[in-house]
C-alpha cells in the first residue's frame, strides 16, 4: 500500500490475462461451488423451518400433560444453603468451558408435576404465569441449550417464586430428584417472595444445597456476594398498565407514599412528616369504601379522595418504598416505572442487581431510623440531580424491571459476566441510558497523558501525482526533529510512484492548490458532512473559537528567543 505500485497493476488484470482454458475451469469450479453452497443453505434452512412450524402447531399444550411424579416421604432432602458458597467453591466452572462467544449455556428441565405420596401437589399454584414467562424467555434466548450435557447452568422448572405457595420439605425433595442435581451444583433458582411468618427469612427457606439463588429481598446477611443474584420483586401491574414516560422535572407532590401495608409505627411517623410539611407530601392508603378485589389494587385513597394507582406515582418527585414484612417490595418496580425517584427505607436490603447497577444515580437510600429526617434529606438534593435520577429510574425499569424476561435476562447476564469476566459488560453499558450513550464521548485514549518527545511521530502523506509538491512537503517535514518515520500513501492507480530521489515532471503537476477553491469540490464536501452526520445520528463536530499558538506567538519579543519563531510567517 505505502510507496509501492504492485497493487494497482494486479487486481483488475487477473481474469483477462488468464488463458481461456483456465478460465473455463475456473468458471466451472466456481459454479459448482456456488451451487453447492446454495444447496447446503437450503438444506440447513429447510428442515429447521419445518421444525419450527411444527413447534408452533404444538403450542397449544397444557401443563396438565406434564408427567406426574410422586415423591416418596423418605426421599432425601438437600442441605440448607451454604452461606460460604462462592463461585470458586460451589460452582463447577468446567461445565461452562471456553467458548468464543463467551456465553454460558442454560438448560431448562422439562416440566413435571410433583405430588407427595397421597397425591397432593407440592405447590398450590403450580407453574405461575410469571415463571412460565421467565422460562420461555430463557428458552428463546441465546443462552438456551437443549443439550443437557453441554449446559453450564440448570434452571429447574419447579416454580419457587413465591414461598407462600410452597410446601418446603416436598419442594426440596423434588429439587433433589432432578437428574442433574448433584448437590445443587450450577443450578439456579428464582425466588421473589422469600420467608414466611412470623420472622420472614430474607432468603428462600427451601433447602437447596449449593444452588445459586436469584432472590428478591436479600439482606446483607443472607446474600452471598458474588454468588447469589439480587433480583427485583416483579410487579404484575407492569404488564397491565402502560405509563408513558414523563419528562423529568418538578412534580405536583414532593414525596408520595403509596404502600398500603405499612407498619403502624412507620405510618405514624409519615403522618407526623405530613403534618410538618403539608401539601408537599401525599400519604395514600387502601380505600376502605371500595369492595375488596383485584380492582382495589388499582386504587389508593387519602381522606375519601380516590386516586388511580399507579398513575398517581407520576405526580410526585420522590416515592417512598418502605420495607414490609419482607425487604423486597413490588412497589419499587411501580415507582421506577412512573419515573418517580424511589426513597428506599429498608435496612440491610441488597438492592436489585446491585452487583452491576449504580443505584446512587437512581434512588435515595435512607436508614429506617432516619425516616423523620426524610424531608430534610430529600430537600438537600439539587434539582438537576432529581431530574437525572427520575430519568435514570425510568431507564432502570425499562431495561431491567419491566418484564419477567428483562429480569431473567439480566440475571443470566450477571452470572455470565462472572464466568467470563474479561468479556463482561461495562459500567457504562449497564448504567447509561440510551440518551447518554449517544451523546457521551468515550475517548479510547482517556488517560490524561502528555507523551514525551522521544518516540516522535509518524508523518503520513497521501499523494496522487503532484510529485513536485510532494517532494517539497517531504523535504520540509523531514527537518522536524521529532519526526520518526515518513509514510507516503501512493494513491494513483495509473502510475507507479517514483523511485528513489529521481524527479520527473508531469504536465498536470503545475495545478497545485486549485482543489479547495473549486466550487464543486466544496459542494461535495458539504454533502460528505451531511452524509456522515446522518450515519452518526448526530453531528459530532464541535465548533470552537480558539486556536493553539506557541506561547510567545507574535509577541513583541526577540525572535531568536522563541521556540517556534517561523510560525505564521508565510
Amino acid at each position: 500500500m505505502c510507496a509501492s505500485g504492485k497493487y494497482s497493476s494486479r487486481g483488475p488484470a487477473l481474469i483477462p490475462r488468464m488463458k481461456t482454458k483456465h478460465r473455463i475451469y475456473y468458471i466451472t469450479l466456481f459454479s459448482v461451488v456456488l451451487l453447492g453452497l446454495i444447496a447446503t443453505g437450503m438444506f440447513q434452512f429447510w428442515p429447521h423451518s419445518i421444525e419450527s412450524t411444527a413447534d408452533w402447531g404444538l403450542d397449544r399444550r397444557s401443563v396438565h400433560d406434564a408427567p406426574l411424579i410422586r415423591l416418596p416421604v423418605s426421599n432425601p432432602i438437600p442441605e440448607r444453603g451454604d452461606l460460604s458458597c462462592r463461585m470458586h467453591t460451589c460452582f463447577d466452572v468446567y461445565r461452562c468451558g471456553y467458548n468464543p462467544k463467551n456465553r454460558i449455556k442454560v438448560y431448562i428441565y422439562p416440566l413435571q408435576r410433583f405430588v407427595d405420596e397421597v397425591g397432593v401437589p407440592i405447590s398450590s399454584t403450580g407453574l405461575s404465569r410469571e415463571y412460565n414467562n421467565l422460562l420461555s424467555a430463557i428458552s428463546d434466548s441465546e443462552f438456551y441449550t437443549d443439550d443437557v450435557t453441554r449446559a453450564c447452568l440448570f434452571v429447574p422448572s419447579i416454580d419457587v417464586l413465591n414461598q407462600n405457595s410452597l410446601r418446603i420439605r416436598e419442594t426440596a425433595q423434588a429439587l433433589a430428584m432432578l437428574p442433574r442435581w448433584d448437590k445443587g451444583m450450577n443450578h439456579l433458582l428464582f425466588n421473589m417472595l422469600p420467608g414466611g411468618p412470623p420472622d420472614y427469612n430474607t432468603a428462600l427457606d427451601v433447602p437447596r444445597d449449593r444452588a445459586l439463588l436469584a432472590g428478591g429481598g436479600f439482606s446483607t446477611w443472607t446474600y452471598r456476594q458474588g454468588y447469589d443474584v439480587s433480583i427485583p420483586v416483579y410487579s404484575p401491574l407492569s404488564a397491565d398498565v402502560e405509563l408513558p414516560e414523563r419528562q423529568p422535572g418538578p412534580r405536583r407532590y414532593f414525596i408520595l407514599s403509596s404502600q398500603t401495608a405499612i407498619h403502624r409505627e412507620y405510618r405514624a411517623e409519615l403522618e407526623r412528616l405530613k403534618e410538618e410539611n403539608g401539601e408537599a407530601l401525599l400519604l395514600l392508603d387502601k380505600c376502605s369504601n371500595l369492595s375488596q378485589g383485584v380492582a382495589s389494587a388499582r386504587k389508593r385513597c387519602y381522606k375519601g379522595q380516590v386516586f388511580d394507582y399507579p398513575q398517581i406515582l407520576q405526580e410526585s418527585s420522590f416515592c417512598v418504598v418502605l420495607r414490609g414484612a419482607r425487604l423486597g417490595q413490588a412497589t419499587l418496580s411501580d415507582v421506577l416505572q412512573a419515573g418517580c425517584v424511589p426513597v428506599i427505607l429498608a435496612d440491610s436490603y441488597i438492592l436489585p442487581f446491585s452487583e452491576v447497577l449504580d443505584w446512587k444515580r437512581a434512588s435515595v437510600v435512607i436508614p429506617e431510623e432516619k425516616l423523620p429526617e426524610m424531608y430534610t434529606i430529600l430537600k438537600s438534593i439539587p434539582h438537576r440531580q432529581v431530574e437525572e435520577m427520575q430519568r435514570q429510574a425510568r431507564w432502570f425499569w425499562d431495561a431491567y424491571f419491566s418484564s419477567m424476561k428483562a429480569i431473567g435476562m439480566t440475571t443470566l447476564q450477571i452470572i455470565n459476566d462472572r464466568i467470563y469476566p474479561y468479556a463482561a459488560c461495562t459500567y457504562e453499558q449497564w448504567n447509561n441510558p440510551p440518551l447518554v450513550k449517544w451523546s457521551s464521548v468515550n475517548s479510547p485514549l482517556f488517560l490524561p497523558l502528555i507523551p514525551p518527545r522521544s518516540p516522535g511521530f509518524t508523518a503520513v502523506v497521501l499523494t496522487y501525482d503532484r510529485i513536485e509538491s510532494l517532494f517539497r512537503v517531504i523535504t520540509e517535514i523531514s527537518k522536524v526533529p521529532s519526526l520518526a518515520k515518513l509514510l507516503v500513501v501512493w494513491n494513483n492507480q495509473n502510475k507507479s510512484p517514483p523511485e528513489g530521489e529521481k524527479k520527473f515532471k508531469c504536465p498536470e503537476c503545475t495545478a497545485i492548490d486549485g482543489l479547495s477553491l473549486d466550487q464543486t469540490h466544496m459542494v461535495e464536501r458539504s454533502e460528505c458532512i451531511n452524509k456522515f452526520a446522518s450515519v452518526f445520528g448526530t453531528m459530532p463536530l464541535k465548533v470552537v473559537e480558539h486556536r493553539a499558538d506557541p506561547v510567545l506567538y507574535k509577541d513583541d519579543f526577540p525572535e531568536k528567543l522563541k521556540s517556534f519563531p517561523n510560525i505564521g510567517s508565510l
Binding site: 473455463i24 459454479s31 459448482v32 446454495i38 444447496a39 437450503m42 438444506f43 428442515p47 419445518i50 411444527a54 397444557s62 401443563v63 406434564a66 470458586h88 467453591t89 466452572v93 468446567y94 471456553y98 431448562i108 399454584t125 404465569r129 415463571y131 428463546d140 437443549d146 417464586l161 413465591n162 411468618p197 412470623p198 446483607t220 456476594q225 404484575p236 398500603t260 401495608a261 412507620y266 387502601k286 414484612a325 440491610s348 438534593i381 438537576r384 440531580q385 437525572e388 461495562t426 447509561n432 440518551l435 447518554v436 479510547p444 488517560l447 497523558l449 502528555i450 507523551p451 514525551p452 518516540p455 473559537e545 480558539h546 486556536r547 499558538d549 506557541p550 510567545l552 506567538y553 507574535k554
Partner: protein, 741 residues
C-alpha cells in the same frame, strides 16, 4: 471448448439439484416423524420450553402483601435491635457493629491512640499513623471521633515474624476506649503463618473493622471490612512514582503476551497453581518462570523440574519482562495477595489474577474488570487463549485504567490509607457518598468530594461520560472579583453589554478584604448586573477561594482589583474555558524549574517558551475548585498562604494540576500584565517587594513536599482567537479588540 464448459456446468448443476432433493427428501419425513412422536407423548424431553395455553395463576396474589403485613406485630424498631444484637463477630455489618451516632453529621473524624512508651512500631505502621494524623480527618479528641485507630502495630500478625507484637490481646483489652472494638479500624498486611496461613489475627478484634491485605471472600464482611493491597516496606509514604505508561502505542501488543517470575513453593498451601505454571510456559511470548530456591531447606523438597526451572529462571530479568509484557500473571502465593499485583499495575502490565477467593483491593469501589483480567485457578490452561482473545481496544482501555487506578489509589501509603478512610466515610455519610462512576473515572474518588454536590454534572470532570445534557450549565459565566485592599474599584468588565449577553448569567462578587470601610454606594460604578459585596471576615488570602453560596454558576472569573482586562479578553477566555472546564484558564503565566544547584524548585516570571501556572489575579476556572481548595487542602498549607498573604495562586495551580494531571491554559491578552500598569495600588508594592519573590519560591517547595512530588506540568501552547493576527480584514475577526493596541 465452449461445449465442454457448458456440459460441465450442466452436470454440476444437476448433481447439486439431486443432492438437494436427496437431503431435503430425507429430512422432510424425519421431521414429520418427530412431530408424530411428540404429539403421541404430548411431551419430549430436551426441547425448548413449550408455550402453554392454559390460564396460569399469578405468582403473587393481589392481597398477599396486605394480609401478611397486618399479621406482623413485632415493631420495626424492635426488629432492628434484634438484628443489631444477633449479627456480631463474623457477621458484623455497619448496621449491627458500627455506632453511627458517634459520627455527627458531616463530620467524620478519626482518632489515633497516643503511642505508648516502649511499644515498637514498624516503619510502615508509623507511616500509616502519621498520614492519618496529617489528614483532614484527624482529631485529638476521642469524644469527637467517629473512628479509632490503634497505636499498637497490627500490620504483621505472622507469629514467626520479628515485627510480631506479643500479648496484643491483653494490650488491646486494657485500652479504655476499646469498647469491644466498636468503631475501630485495624490495619493488617500479614496474618497467620506456616503451614496453614489462617487469616486469624491472633487476638479478638471484637466489633472492629479490618483493613486487611490478602483477605479472602470467606472472612471478608461486605461493606464492613476494607480489602487493602499488600505493599512493601519501601512503598513511598506520600506522592509516589507515577505509572510507567508514558504514551499509548497502537497496536498495544508488547514483546511478551504474558509473564510471571516468582517463587514456587513445591508443597503446602497455595503451591498448586505455581507448580502448574510450566504447562503454560512456551518460552516465546508466554514466559512463566519459577524458582525453587527460597528458604533454607528447599533442597529437601525439590522435585524433578527444579533444576531446569531454576536455570530458566535466571535467564530472564524481571524488570525487563515487566515493562515489555502486555499481561502479567498474578498468581496467589502462600497468602492470596502478592506484591506482583501492585508492580504489574504500576508497570501498565494488565494483571491476570489467579487467586481464587481473594477479595480484590478496594473491591467495594473499584470495578476491577476494567483494569485486570480475573482468571480462575481451575482454568489455568485456558489463560493463554483467554488473554489472546481480548481485543486490542480492550487491552488499550485496560492498560490506561491500570495507570489511572495506580495513581488514584495505590501509588503511596498515603493514598491507600486515605482511600480506606474515604470508603468508610462514604458509608457513614450515606447521602453524601460517591457513585461508582466517581470512583472509577478520572480524577478518582480522592479528588471528587461528594459533599460538594450529589449531581455529577456539577463537577467539571464527567461531561464527556455523561453526555451533553448534563453540561448545559457550562454556558453560564460568573464574574468574581477579589479585593485585597484598595481605593474605590474600577470595574472594567461587566458594564459592557456584550459580556452580559443573553446566554450568560453574571454576578459580580466583591470580596472586601480591607481594613478600610467600604466606599459609599454612589462611588461604585453603575452596572447592568448584580454586584454583591462580601466583607472578608478574617481578611485572609484563602478567603478568595471560599466556596461562597452566592456563586451559582460553574465558571468563576477571579480578578484582582488592579487587573487590566478588556471585555473581549474576558469573553474569549470564557469560550476557551467552556472547552476545558476542568482546567485553569488565565492570562499572565509563570513557570517552575528544577534548580539543580540548590536542589530545590525554582519559580520564574520571565517570558519563556513555556509555562506551568497562570495567575489567579485573572483566571477562569470551575467553582468546584473553590470547594476543593477549602476542603481538600490541609490547614498547614492554607495557614502558610494566609500568614504570608502570598502564594494562594501557586497553591491553586498545584491543586488543579494535581487533579487534572494537565497544565493550565494561557489565553491571549492585549496588554501584558505588568507591574508598571498597576499604578500606585498596594498590590503593586507587594509585587515590588523582593521578599515576595523569595517567598513564592519557598511556597513552591513546601507545596511540592506536601503533594509528594511536583504536580505542575509545562505547556508550550497559548490559545488565541482563530483569526488572531492573521492577514485578513479586522472586520472579519470576532475578538478584534485583542489585537488592537
Amino acid at each position: 471448448m465452449q461445449a465442454k464448459k457448458r456440459y460441465l456446468i450442466l452436470l454440476s448443476a444437476g448433481t447439486c439439484l439431486v443432492l438437494l432433493f436427496y437431503f431435503g427428501g430425507v429430512q422432510l419425513p424425519s421431521s414429520g416423524r418427530n412431530r408424530h412422536d411428540r404429539s403421541h407423548n404430548g411431551y419430549r424431553p430436551d426441547q425448548p420450553w413449550p408455550h402453554f395455553s392454559d390460564p396460569l395463576q399469578q405468582f403473587l396474589l393481589w392481597d398477599q402483601p396486605d394480609t401478611e403485613e397486618y399479621n406482623i406485630h413485632i415493631s420495626p424498631r424492635q426488629k432492628r435491635d434484634v438484628n443489631t444484637s444477633v449479627y456480631k463477630g463474623k457477621r458484623c455489618r455497619m448496621d449491627s457493629c458500627f455506632d453511627f451516632s458517634a459520627c455527627k453529621r458531616n463530620d467524620f473524624k478519626v482518632y489515633v491512640y497516643p503511642q505508648q512508651k516502649g511499644e515498637k512500631i514498624s516503619e510502615s505502621y508509623q507511616n500509616i499513623l502519621s498520614i492519618v494524623e496529617g489528614s483532614r480527618f484527624y482529631t485529638t479528641d476521642p469524644g469527637q471521633a467517629c473512628l479509632f485507630i490503634l497505636s499498637l502495630d497490627t500490620l504483621d500478625r505472622d507469629s514467626l515474624s520479628p515485627q510480631y507484637v506479643h500479648n496484643l490481646k491483653t494490650k488491646v483489652q486494657n485500652l479504655h476506649l476499646w469498647n469491644n472494638g466498636r468503631n475501630h479500624l485495624i490495619f493488617n498486611l500479614y496474618s497467620g503463618t506456616w503451614p496453614d496461613y489462617t487469616e486469624d489475627l491472633g487476638f479478638d478484634i471484637g466489633q472492629a473493622m479490618l483493613a486487611k491485605a490478602s483477605i479472602s471472600t470467606e472472612i471478608f464482611r461486605p461493606n464492613f471490612d476494607v480489602s487493602i493491597p499488600l505493599f512493601s516496606k519501601e512503598h513511598p509514604r506520600t506522592g509516589g512514582d507515577r505509572g510507567y505508561l508514558k504514551y499509548n502505542s497502537i497496536p498495544p501488543f508488547r514483546k511478551y503476551m504474558l509473564v510471571f517470575k516468582g517463587k514456587r513453593y513445591l508443597t503446602g498451601i497455595g503451591s498448586d497453581t505455581r507448580n502448574a505454571l510450566y504447562h503454560v510456559h512456551n518460552q516465546e511470548d508466554v514466559v512463566l518462570l519459577t524458582t525453587c530456591k527460597h528458604g533454607k531447606d528447599w533442597q529437601k523438597h525439590k522435585d524433578a523440574r527444579c533444576e531446569k526451572d531454576n536455570a530458566e529462571y535466571d535467564k530472564y530479568d524481571y524488570r525487563e519482562m515487566l515493562h515489555n509484557s502486555t499481561f502479567c500473571l498474578v498468581p496467589r502465593g502462600r497468602r492470596l495477595g502478592s506484591f506482583r499485583f501492585l508492580e504489574a499495575l504500576q508497570a501498565a502490565c494488565v494483571p491476570v489474577m489467579l487467586s481464587n477467593g481473594w477479595e480484590l483491593p478496594f473491591s467495594e469501589i473499584i470495578n476491577w474488570n476494567t483494569a485486570a483480567v480475573i482468571g480462575d485457578e481451575r482454568l489455568l490452561l485456558q489463560i493463554p487463549s483467554t488473554v489472546r482473545s481480548i481485543h486490542q481496544d480492550k487491552i488499550l482501555a485496560l492498560r490506561q485504567q491500570t495507570q489511572f487506578l495506580w495513581e488514584a489509589y495505590f501509588s503511596s501509603v498515603e493514598k491507600i490509607v486515605l482511600t480506606t478512610l474515604e470508603i468508610i466515610q462514604d458509608r457513614v455519610l450515606q447521602q453524601e457518598s460517591r457513585s461508582t462512576l466517581m470512583w472509577n473515572s478520572h480524577p478518582g474518588g480522592l479528588f471528587a468530594l461528594p459533599q460538594y454536590s450529589a449531581h455529577l454534572g456539577d463537577f467539571p470532570f464527567y461531561y464527556a461520560t455523561l453526555g451533553e445534557y448534563s453540561s448545559q450549565s457550562t454556558n453560564r459565566s460568573h464574574v468574581f472579583m477579589c479585593h485585597p485592599c484598595s481605593h474605590p474599584p474600577g470595574l472594567p468588565i461587566p458594564a459592557h453589554p456584550q459580556a452580559a449577553g443573553v446566554c450568560c448569567q453574571i454576578t459580580i462578587i466583591v470580596l472586601w478584604n480591607c481594613d478600610k470601610p467600604l466606599p459609599a454606594k454612589h462611588r461604585w460604578p453603575a452596572t447592568s448586573v448584580p454586584v454583591i459585596v462580601i466583607e472578608g471576615e478574617n481578611k485572609v488570602m484563602s478567603s478568595r477561594f471560599l466556596p461562597y453560596e452566592t456563586i451559582v454558576t460553574d465558571a468563576v472569573l477571579s480578578l484582582d482589583e488592579d487587573t487590566v482586562l478588556s471585555t473581549t479578553e474576558v469573553d474569549f477566555a470564557f469560550t476557551v474555558w467552556q472547552s476545558f472546564p476542568e482546567r485553569l484558564v488565565g492570562y499572565p503565566a509563570r513557570s517552575h524549574f528544577w534548580d539543580s544547584n540548590k536542589e530545590r524548585w525554582g519559580y520564574t516570571s520571565k517570558w519563556t517558551n513555556d509555562y506551568s501556572m497562570v495567575l489567579t489575579g485573572a483566571a477562569i476556572y470551575h467553582r468546584y475548585y473553590h470547594f476543593l481548595y477549602t476542603n481538600f487542602l490541609p490547614a498547614s498549607l492554607k495557614g502558610m498562604v494566609d500568614q504570608l498573604a502570598n502564594c494562594e495562586d501557586i497553591l491553586m495551580n498545584f491543586l488543579v494540576s494535581a487533579v487534572t494531571k494537565l497544565p493550565p491554559i494561557k489565553v491571549t491578552q492585549k496588554k501584558q500584565y505588568k507591574e508598571t500598569m498597576m499604578g500606585q495600588s498596594s498590590r503593586a508594592s507587594r509585587w515590588a517587594d523582593p521578599d515576595h519573590f523569595a517567598q513564592r519560591q519557598t511556597c513552591m517547595n513546601k507545596f511540592a513536599n506536601w503533594f509528594g512530588g511536583m504536580p505542575l506540568v509545562h505547556s508550550q501552547m497559548r490559545l488565541d482567537p482563530v483569526l488572531f493576527k492573521d492577514q485578513v480584514s479586522i472586520l472579519r475577526k470576532k475578538y478584534r479588540d485583542i489585537e488592537r493596541l
